[in-house]
């Protein structure tokens, strides 16, 4: 290098190569166009990415972006038209495959082109707000191929045909379906919906309409539901396999609509296989299926529930009004409990413990249970039976279960005060005859009643228990005080009952045999000595006695009889033969009781310690009675005519009813006064509503009765009619 030559060193500005060639744009475009052709022909191996990228870059840079873009559009469109033709030309079965193949190729080409034209995509397109290359490619595909005249309908028909084939049981190429559907989805959700989904749903609706009609003609309800369920699952699977998941809810709606909603009524009411027969036969699986299918449609469950409710009410009504069933109260209540159990099980197993169904069941039971006015009595008798002997060998938990079930029935009663009355009567009999199995069970039930109805309800019942206990203590005290004098006489057990707590019974006088009357007097003195200011009344009609009797050949038996019967029998200690009139006079027992008493002593086979002349079933006033020497029995102890709780006879029932009505009057009045006191002035109808609401836990108040009570209160100056408004009442302090 010669350092002597001095050259001016100029640093020139860094310049881009300036375009001088006017045809530059065209030339560059030709290169790119050629490249696109090659790409579409799968022939890009010869090209240089870098060169193409550089050319595209330069075009955009030199403001030829527009030419590039429009050129791209034109070239692609041309290619797609060709592709479209080749797809159209595809024969029958291979149509979809060809379409799928071409679509894949197009996608690949599109990606490549997009990569080359990346610079344009990033700079030119956003600034001119044109469609990006990728989306452009999809749109062009859609417009030129999918929406081409011959292809659009053919594609749709092919797809629908394949689905129909699958529905009728053939196997189709699911992978291919999936790809085609995915193509439609990629082209845009509107394409998928318009070109495929809408017609698909329509065709499916038609298909299922026809099929459901066919099924319902030939299948019974259970089978139809199975088929419907199967179709539903099938459609869900279809969607997951090769349709877009947005279609799932739409197609299941279609199936629900056509197969279930349209035939709801017919299915439920189908003879011999509809809901009613399913309920009767406890077909849990069918019921469960019906529940899950009907839950999907509007009003489905309402229909099921309504039919079930009316069925339960019908059967319940038949049950309570059937004279046969009503004969045995215990059986009657047991049947009710069984029905309740059955439906509880159905609801929990098949109906998913649905609350609305539970409520429907409860309201139905309440409805028909109160149709029979003797229900409170029967329930009390049922409990009585259980507490006497039914719960003998039952474990404690089971006892609780039975009592809980009884409580459930109790809750359905509208006239709870009637139940209270009967229960008191039966409890009294149980306690006095000592026939209750388990004290714990009794107390447990009382506790449940207390929780349910409040203290008022059970205070008297608890009083009865207290009396029994106190009496035991009193007896101990009595014998302790009397000492040896009464030691070898008859043993006396007295129960002292507080009059208010126990069911009131008239206590007619009765002549006790002399051995006993002395003992009773002694007790009376003792008791009044310790409790001054009280009065004692003997209730012989409620007592029992154990007597030892010697028969022919020295046969000894111990007889367990009522006190009345004891009085009668002891007369025969002094005489062998007595007429009815003589017995009546000696004992002073009232007529009906005496007749019943003698009947059980003389006319019952196996228990006839007395002989009657003449031998007949009924007792008449001219009969005579003899001591039956020839009485025999297998057992040493013989029970005669225990005072068990019986279903009341007609006149007794009337009497109880009347007493209940009488008891209700003061309760109604108390309710009226309570309400008026707080409200001061109230309209007649409002009074009725409020009173009914307040008394609802006890009984259903009769509006006529309430009106009568209001009149009575007005008479007694508790209320007055309002001066201005004749229908309102005012409280008088």
């Amino acid at each position: 290098m010669d350092s002597q030559k001095k050259t001016n060193f100029q640093i020139e500005a860094f310049k881009h190569r300036v375009v001088v060639d006017p045809k530059y744009a065209d030339k560059t475009w030709k290169i790119l166009e050629h490249a696109i052709h090659e790409i579409y022909n799968q022939n890009a191996g010869e090209l240089s990415f870098e060169e193409l990228y550089r050319n595209a870059y330069n075009m955009v840079l030199h403001k030829f972006g527009e030419k590039l873009y429009s050129g791209l559009v034109a070239t692609m469109t041309a290619h797609l038209k060709e592709i479209s033709k080749s797809v159209e030309a595809a024969q029958g079965g291979s149509f979809l495959e060809v379409l799928n193949g071409k679509w894949n190729d197009h996608n690949k080409a599109l990606r490549t082109i997009r990569d080359i034209l990346m610079y344009m995509d990033r700079t030119f397109i956003p600034s001119t707000r044109k469609i990006p290359v990728h989306d452009l490619g999809l749109n062009l595909w859609r417009d030129n191929v999918i929406h081409a005249n011959n292809i659009q309908t053919r594609l749709l028909n092919t797809l629908l045909e394949l689905i129909l084939m699958e529905r009728t049981g053939e196997v189709i190429n699911r992978g291919l379906m999936r790809n085609i559907v995915k193509m439609l989805v990629d082209l845009g959700s509107s394409v998928y919906q318009e070109d495929f989904e809408k017609p698909f749903l329509e065709v499916s609706a038609d298909f299922y309409r026809v099929e459901s009609q066919r099924f319902i003609e030939c299948c019974d309800c259970g089978d139809y539901l199975k088929k419907a369920e199967r179709r539903l699952n099938e459609e869900v699977e279809r969607v997951s396999q090769y349709l877009d998941c947005s279609s799932e809810s739409k197609i299941t709606n279609v199936v629900d609509e056509e197969m279930i909603a349209n035939h709801m009524q017919r299915l439920v009411h189908m003879e011999n296989s509809g809901l009613v027969s399913m309920l009767l036969d406890d077909r849990y699986e069918d019921l469960g299926r019906m529940y899950s299918l009907f839950r999907r449609v509007v009003n489905g469950l309402n229909t099921v529930r309504d039919v079930m409710t009316s069925h339960i009410r019908e059967t319940g009504k038949q049950l309570v009004t059937d004279p046969e069933k009503v004969k045995d109260p215990v059986e009657f209540v047991q049947r009710l409990l069984d029905e309740k159990d059955k439906y509880d099980k159905i609801i929990s197993v098949a109906f998913n413990n649905d609350k609305t169904f539970q409520n429907a069941l409860n309201s139905s039971f309440e409805y028909f249970l109160n149709l029979n006015t003797r229900s409170p009595e029967f329930i009390s008798l049922f409990v009585d039976d259980k507490l006497r002997k039914g719960l003998k060998d039952v474990t404690e938990e089971d006892v609780e279960i039975v009592l809980d079930k009884v409580m459930m029935l109790f809750r359905y009663l509208q006239e709870k005060d009637v139940f209270e009355k009967y229960y008191k009567q039966h409890l009294a009999k149980r306690l006095l005859s000592g026939k209750t199995i388990s004290d714990d069970a009794e107390r447990s039930l009382i506790l449940k009643l207390k929780t349910e109805c409040g203290y008022q309800f059970t205070s008297k019942l608890e009083g009865m228990f207290m009396d029994m206990k106190t009496s035991q203590d009193t007896m101990q005290g009595f014998y302790a005080s009397q000492g040896a004098e009464v030691g070898d006489g008859p043993a006396l057990v007295v129960q002292v009952l507080t009059m208010g707590s126990w069911p009131t019974q008239p206590c007619p006088p009765c002549n006790l045999p002399s051995e006993l009357s002395m003992l009773c007097e002694r007790f009376r003195t003792y008791y009044l000595g310790t409790h001054t200011g009280r009065r004692l009344y003997w209730q012989i009609n409620m007592g029992t006695a154990d007597i030892k009797a010697t028969f022919w050949k020295g046969q000894k038996h111990e007889l367990n009889v009522s006190s009345y019967q004891m009085c009668v029998l002891l007369l025969f200690n002094n005489a062998d033969r007595l007429t009815y009139k003589e017995i009546e006079q000696a004992t002073q027992i009232p007529t009906t009781d005496l007749k019943r008493c003698l009947q059980s002593l003389a006319c019952v086979k196996g228990k006839n310690v007395l002989r009657k002349e003449p031998m007949s079933k009924d007792i008449s006033e001219d009969d005579a009675f003899l001591f039956n020497d020839k009485f025999t029995s297998k057992f040493y102890k013989v029970k005669i005519g225990t005072v068990a709780a019986q279903k009341e006879s007609e006149p007794e029932k009337q009497e109880t009813r009347q007493r209940v009505e009488e008891d209700r009057k003061p309760q109604i009045e108390a309710a009226i006064v309570r309400i008026m006191k707080s409200r001061r002035v109230l309209e007649h109808n409002s009074v009725i509503t409020e009173v009914t609401k307040q008394l609802q836990p006890r009984f259903l108040a009769n509006p006529v009765e309430i009106k009568k009570r209001i009149e009575s209160l007005i008479e007694r100056d508790f209320l007055e009619r309002d001066n201005t408004d004749r229908k309102s009442y005012r409280y008088l302090a």
Partner: protein
């Protein structure tokens, strides 16, 4: 460095720079080139020619690749430790300086 992990970048003057693929991928353009579905010549031979980029520029670019790899990951990576940028002078090219 294995052959499959590398790619050759050739400048306008013909200088060939062999760099890691990972390094070259820093450039979006090169990445698109190499991962494009269309089978271009570049992917076939593993060579990318830049007729409009001079050697000095390309060299700087390659250095940038490695610098970017090293510092964007936050620690010194294997390949930046062993980096060689191998300019090879092909026989028929002359490097003039005047």
């Amino acid at each position: 460095m294995r052959k499959e992990d590398t790619v050759k970048l050739i400048s306008a003057e013909g200088f060939e720079f062999v760099v890691d693929k990972k390094a070259a991928m820093i450039s979006q353009t090169i990445r698109n080139m190499l991962t494009s579905p269309g089978s271009f010549a570049e992917t076939e031979h593993g060579e990318v020619t830049f007729p409009e980029i001079s050697t000095t520029i390309l060299e700087k670019i390659c250095q940038y690749f490695y610098w970017s790899l090293q510092y964007s990951s936050g620690k010194e990576t294997e390949c930046t430790k062993n980096r060689h940028v191998l300019p090879r002078v092909p026989g028929d090219q002359n490097y003039h300086c005047s």
